[in-house]
Symmetry: C2
């Protein structure tokens, strides 16, 4: 069907140009004080202040999200060092912005002026893998794919698989409650966090959660930390639940559709029939074209979009489920649909899915990424709204989606250096958010609120729920030290 493409490239994301980062302003006594404390408390190689050196640490991958200039970047190696950093910052009332690999897409890890950026990239020890209890304990800077490889060597599986898995860290995945392809059947990061070690806003080290399969001793504060984007505490150790490694390669079904509406109908029909694919993705022709351009992948470009579904049941149930998915694709109007028996070919199609975002960036344009999540039954309608919004604002919008979850990523493509196009793209972004709420969806399915979705979140939640969010933030970070201005801040 198609040729395998190169995968696992060197991290291709460009992100916004950070520009020069100035030294801390001379009129920042708090910044000067905390810098002096940090240098005194930590080994010399932990604290970075050279503007060129710290430039890569001041923002994540969110297009056009503002960022400020930090006093310093610190790269601690232990929980004790993290506690020392937060204690020093709390004493001086200096903000702490925690980051992992910086692959976020909402600006959640962007520096604020005068802050200390706390980067966990050197805390990358896999502390423990326990096959009997099916759990692993890791430092926050462990890269997702590294954890997956380490536990696979012991017959175990860590399912959460964001597209950033080759680079993103487990700490960042927990801070944003990262999703991925597998979560349509196996759940998101939250579903795999058993326990956390956290440094609180006052610099105290606490343990939340448990190592046991179940537990209800007190409020679920480990769960509360998941997805809180560094605003409630700094995560210094994570205990994750594991599953047994899947025994057989999954079977793949692919369907090509002439319209996005037919795609949406196929997704709804597969769900309503009670089928449970282990991945269920949508890629539109703009994405296929970009991957072909970049990787000469030979993907077909004459359909509006393709749907990719995988089933991982034991045979012969997998074949039966694949046939049922195929039948629903055909019934929904697929122009072509087939079941793949070749794992290499199937993996090539999923690689096209994973490479869509960097492929679009390779073309030299800016890519503003949306992350709305809809009730599955409204996906077709939402895709129609996105097309209408894109046309009205004369903006190219490509679409990828975790279709089985209703999680749609419209990718808004903007040529660099065209302020009018940028303004139209921003308007389209805002209208897509409003349309998602209007259709009963959420403004962010898996990327987080960060900076880009703050207005959307306020619109979605309403005043009562927002007041509760603010009360939680004030209770756990009364001086607003931890990643101020993000999420509810």
């Amino acid at each position: 069907m198609v040729e395998p493409v190169d995968v696992r490239p060197a991290r291709p994301f460009g992100g916004p140009g950070p520009g020069p980062v100035p030294a801390p302003p001379a009129d920042d006594p708090a910044g000067a004080a905390v810098l002096s404390d940090l240098v005194a408390a930590l080994p010399a190689d932990r604290v970075l202040t050279d503007p060129d050196t710290i430039a890569p640490y001041v923002h994540d991958e969110a297009e056009w999200a503002d960022h400020g200039s930090p006093v310093a970047v610190v790269r601690p190696r232990s929980t004790a060092e993290v506690a020392a950093v937060v204690t020093a910052c709390a004493a001086a009332r200096v903000p702490v912005v925690t980051r992992g690999a910086g692959t976020g897409l909402s600006g959640g890890a962007n520096a604020v002026d005068g802050c200390v950026v706390l980067c966990t990239e050197r805390m990358r020890e896999i502390v423990e893998i326990d096959p009997g209890e099916r759990l692993a304990v890791v430092q926050p800077g462990v890269v997702n794919d590294d954890l997956r490889a380490a536990v696979a060597a012991q017959g175990l599986w860590y399912p959460p698989d964001p597209a950033s898995a080759p680079w993103s860290t487990i700490g960042g995945n927990v801070a944003t409650n990262a999703g991925g392809l597998c979560c349509v059947k196996y759940g998101v990061t939250r579903d795999y966090v058993l326990a956390l070690e956290v440094v609180t806003a006052s610099g105290e080290v606490v343990r939340l959660g448990r190592r046991t399969a179940k537990g209800v001793a007190g409020y679920d504060l480990a769960g509360l930390m998941v997805g809180s984007e560094g605003t409630l505490g700094v995560i210094t150790e994570i205990t994750v639940k594991l599953r047994p490694l899947r025994a057989t390669p999954p079977r793949t079904v692919v369907g090509f559709f002439d319209t996005l509406a037919d795609c949406g109908a196929a997704v709804a029909a597969v769900t309503a029939r009670g089928l449970q694919p282990a991945a269920f993705e949508l890629i539109d022709r703009h994405c296929l074209h970009a991957v072909n351009e970049w990787k000469q992948a030979g993907l077909p470009e004459d359909a509006a979009a393709l749907l990719l579904a995988q089933t991982d049941l034991p045979e012969p149930a997998a074949s039966a489920e694949a046939e049922a998915i195929h039948a629903e694709f055909v019934a929904a109007g697929a122009k072509d649909a087939m079941m793949s028996t070749d794992p290499v070919e199937a993996e090539a199609l999923f690689d096209a899915r994973r490479l869509a975002y960097p492929a679009l960036e390779q073309r030299g344009d800016a890519v503003l990424t949306e992350d709305v999540c809809l009730p599955r039954g409204r996906l077709a309608e939402m895709l129609g709204r996105v097309e209408e919004i894109a046309a009205r604002h004369r903006t190219l919008v490509a679409n990828i989606a975790h279709a089985g979850d209703g999680n749609l990523h419209p990718l808004i493509i903007v040529p660099h250096g065209d302020p009018a196009a940028k303004a139209r793209a921003q308007a389209a972004f805002d209208e897509i958010v409003i349309a998602a709420i209007d259709l009963g969806g959420t403004v962010t399915g898996e990327h987080g609120v960060g900076l880009l979705k703050r207005a959307g979140m306020r619109r979605e939640l309403g005043p009562g729920a927002l007041a509760m969010q603010r009360a939680i933030k004030a209770a756990l970070d009364p001086h607003d030290i931890l990643n101020p201005g993000k999420v509810i801040g």
Copy 2:
């Protein structure tokens, strides 16, 4: 192998005798004021004050947990009525103790002096079942088994299945994060809560969570409410996630063991081999004997305990998994082990598991229920500790366990009217809690903290995590109106 026993009895639990409940004291002006407000705000049949009528509402099923005397019991029929109750109580600073069916085992729903008991038993509408989105929306008073039956009629499955499912309500299940037999493979109540409508401590109605499969807009406050036992808000509507109904009856494997240590070893071996039973239970000979006495069930009593495992994979994978479980039972020293192909016979064994607790109560003794949860690999050691503690305190302790989760329910049997035996039982209860913490476990796996596990929880969590728990409670219920004195209160 065994005969089917009668199931789904009229609710057999006895619970502690409540004794007479006095009218609100004449020197309780706040109580008198709130009573007058409630009578003015609600239809007449909503407010109960007659001592005999309200007696069944003042405590749950927790043996020996203290309870106080309420000003009134209210049984609202709508969210607006709940909001009116909480608003009146907040204005008068009168506590609100929310309860469902009162099947709890930790005293979490016990009245405190001068409170209003808010019972959700009349809010029992199944608002919506949506097969396309695989979700249901229910009022909190819907009984677990009623929801399961209603969604089954549409080909859907609500997995959480506490032993109290014929009587307990979804609201109570959410408030305690109830577990059950299925959660070893399918997760606990928390894993099925998508959204909640909640009345806050000030009487405001807020919506938390979402209807979509995924979402990360703000902190996970719906998740925080799950397991909070009515101390952070009153749940008035619940949106739950559903699964497709399982197609085939599960296959059952039963193993009889001469020692509890062999049982524990079998549990660890099944987990370590990567098998995933859909239920994995332990019943000891004291429980088998009580069920035989009550139901003439003909269960074998010559083993120390039996293990029951079910597999629900599609065939032939189910047969292969059943054989693998059987092999591990034999390798761990089972004196007898067999695979059942008869669903009636298998269900009879699981009914014995479900009837163990009421069967012990039928004998006329008090039953103090433990709920510790251990790392699976420490289960054998914990069972040994329980035996030693029981012998040292000359107390009969029967054991049932969700063995695959490491969730052990030692049932401490005490003749009524024997204060010395009661003191020994209380000492055994406390030592079991300490032993569980000592072995890396938690003091409560699924029953909740309520009143009985407060000291244990404090010991388990430590001062830093406790301070965070208190900060959350103070942030969301600053006047300590909601179920004061429970969990962290």
